[in-house]
Amino acid sequence: MRIVPFIVSTVITVVLIFVFNKKIGPVPPIGKFLSPQHGFWQNAEPTDASFDADLKFPQLKGKVEVYFDDRLVPHVFAENDEDVYFVQGYLHAKFRLWQMEFQTFAAAGMVSHITGAGPEDRILKYDRSMRRLGMVYAAERSLQELEKDPIAKTNQDAYTAGVNAWIDNLKESQLPLEYKLLDYKPEHWTNLKTALFAKYMSYDLAGSVKDLEYTNAKNVFSITDFEKLFPVAADSLKPIAINSPENPYPTKPAYDLTLPLGSDSIYFNYLKDTITNILPKPDKDNGSNNWAVSGTKTASHSPILCNDPHLGLNLPSLWYEMQLTTPNFNAYGVTFPGAPNVVIGFNDSIAFGFTNAGRDVKDYYEIKFRDESMNEYWFDNAWVKSTRRLEKIEIRGKPILIDTVTYTLFGPVMYDQNFPAAEGSKKYYAVKWKAHDPSNELMIFYKLNRAKNYDDYAEAIKYLSCPGQNPVFACKNGDIAIWQQGDFPAKWRRQGDFIMPGFDSTYMWKGIIPQQENPHMKNPTRGYVSSANQLSVDSTYPYYTGNDFPVYRGYTINHRLDAMNNITIDDMKALQTDNYNTKAEFAKDILLRTDESKLSADEKKYFDIYKSWNFRNDSNEKGATVFTIWWKELEKAVWSDEINKPGLPMPWPNEATLVESLHKDSAYHFVDNINTPAKETLEDDLLAALKKSTDTLKIVEANGNLAWAKYKATKVQHLLKVPALSRLHLPIGGGSGIINAAKEDHGPSWRMIVQLSNPTEAYGVYPGGQSGNAGSKYYDDFVDQWANGKYYQLWFMHNGDRMDKKIKWAMKFERGE
């Protein structure tokens, strides 16, 4: 009788196949994953792989030719616009499908669908917070707006069809590695996914406000102390736009911005709110540098435009480099996988780039509901009906969670009993966010890709509603310009810095600042325009533009550009990768007040390293490490006794506040530690901070990490934070507040320099590679070049270059089944 062993071995085989076909905890489905014909081995791309292909798609109207250079940058030549976007979508999907989809899942609060709820339900909480912020609601509204515009709709449809043309022909073996690791499959692409991606950029760039922390702080400090700790503007500010006769500010606001009656007691002084459930925020240094110098300051007499957007450093990179050419336009630069057009780049006539405006367009209002049903709320002396939106959250391995979000005329109620602001809190806070309003942001890129002059640029940027940006511009005809562009609410001073009362219309935004009144500079006599996320205007601008802007990068850039003439491209490369630490220069006289006679041998050693330091955060400088640690300890010695309250999230002052406060206020009372009977002085704090720093520094030095780059340990992390798929410990200097803003996992995500000469000369580099596939040699091949501060010359290919030796592979697309 062999039937019993047959049954036993068959059952074991079937069970084994079943187990090996299933993801168990973090372990991928091991049989499927290891199969050399299906699993990850199929992602191990031969290093001599060819990217040549002949493809036919019924959606195409004509022929499209794609030429890849040796860095795998595609130069797309199409006969019409629709085809170019179809192929852009196809290439984005071919090289970056997983990240494209993952980013939209992150935007829509759908990550639990892929990963499960996560440890302590953290991922689920993130998903819920995105739903409650109204991300999907906002994307749906933007999509409606986009689809009203026939050009935008046609091009977006073509792009989406291109993405799906790749997805539909995808074999299991060709799935990107991450799908195999996490064991799921891509969905169809939709126009809504592109809209979600655009909203994610709004979240990333216009979502990091500290209104809730400020509200907590306001309840702890007097107004005088609050203003000392969190001043609106820094003294060392060099604003983006100067009030000058050539580019004057508006003389008075377009709206009545007097403070609401009784705001002193109702708004500025009410000690009622404590918010502990503060959600993780995008990095506060999501910012950038950009500048354009006019021909009057350059050696070639042509303008030069530079831009380096500072964002999270990830693999696969946020950016995908490409050139798009049709008879209507020819644009080169970096693109967002997930959206059509070139985002930062240049065409035959102009160059364009962006930095973040960082204006506060996201405010919180306290809502008074009639009862816990949340059906009606009190507004201007009447009960107003609310609406509902059901958010269905799919969680891998668990039943669907339905979260009901109530909407008011301000926006979604983010915090309620189901998502309390603090433990036991019965408060309701709605969020009013500019990104909720319908807009057609992505059209700015369509227009900029085709812009020929200043007027085209000025027209294009009007599509930018949220996130507010500082689009910089330079043109072959010699014009340079910068605008701070977006739909910015006209605010009275400190409006929205704290939670506002939601029952009184006088606290609502008065309106949007007229576009022409947004700060701008065109062809200033100083010969350059620049921005680095600093406050855009000085105090003569008639609207409140928010607080807590970075200061030092903008200061350094302007200081340097003021002094430069006969500028060459190499000068611009040096400036863009400059590691000079202006804050350290300004802080020197403060730190030198340390009483050296009281230092131990170890403390003296580090103090001497600091004293002989040249203020440069170059990768091998030890002084930069000492300064960074010491300054951080000094800030803590001065402020943590006042600011740190157990369990209460509080804001930390701006990078410039301590230096400037100590310079102008010889009796700065925060230096005293309020928890001790003694009256500490600055000198005491300096010593205490250096003592603490010495303990840290000794450990850092023992580990061989005293050199700045070693200590900082910049990394480019895979989006899933898998170390093996990331690049760690990169030898790069710079840091927060420095032009070369490379922090631990955040920094210059694309560096670009464009000289608008004939022919155009352009350089660029990003910390990644053109392929999103970790098994490709093109996955991270730009990283070392980037870390070394080196650039690639960008090849702006023209029609006549089709036989050029720089072409390595060609992909030919035509209409057909």
């Binding site: 009788m1 062999r2 039937i3 062993p5 047959f6 071995s9 068959t10 074991i12 085989t13 084994l16 196949i17 090996f20 076909n21 372990v27 091991i30 049989g31 499927k32 290891l34 199969s35 050399p36 014909q37 299906h38 699993g39 990850f40 081995w41 199929q42 992602n43 191990a44 791309e45 031969p46 290093t47 001599d48 299991e172 590695l177 690791l181 898998v722 170390p723 093996a724 798929l725 970790a774 098994g775 490709s776 040699k777 996955y779």
Partner: protein, 115 residues
Amino acid sequence: MKFIVSVILTALLAFAAGLYLPWWSIAIAAFLVALIIPQRPGYSFLAGLFGLFLLWSALALWINIKNEGILASKIASVLPLGGSAVLLILATGFIGGLVAGLAALSGSYLRSSKI
């Protein structure tokens, strides 16, 4: 001789099946070979095991050479294999071999239960 033929046939059939069918088609291949070529169950098991061990590790090795080891070292760190491509290739062969060996065992038992 039967044994060697079984090993080679299992590898070839599994490779062909893998071109069109999901990864677990290796089990069908090994099962069929054990059904067609009569062997004692122990030999059938070993023929399936060796057949797929050879096929999967050889394919993985070839891919790894063409890839210059870029991906294998990363995956061998994601999986607890200390970054060793060699271990990863062996693990690949073993997993394929285990499934195929058990499937071949079933095939062999089925054939002998008919007899």
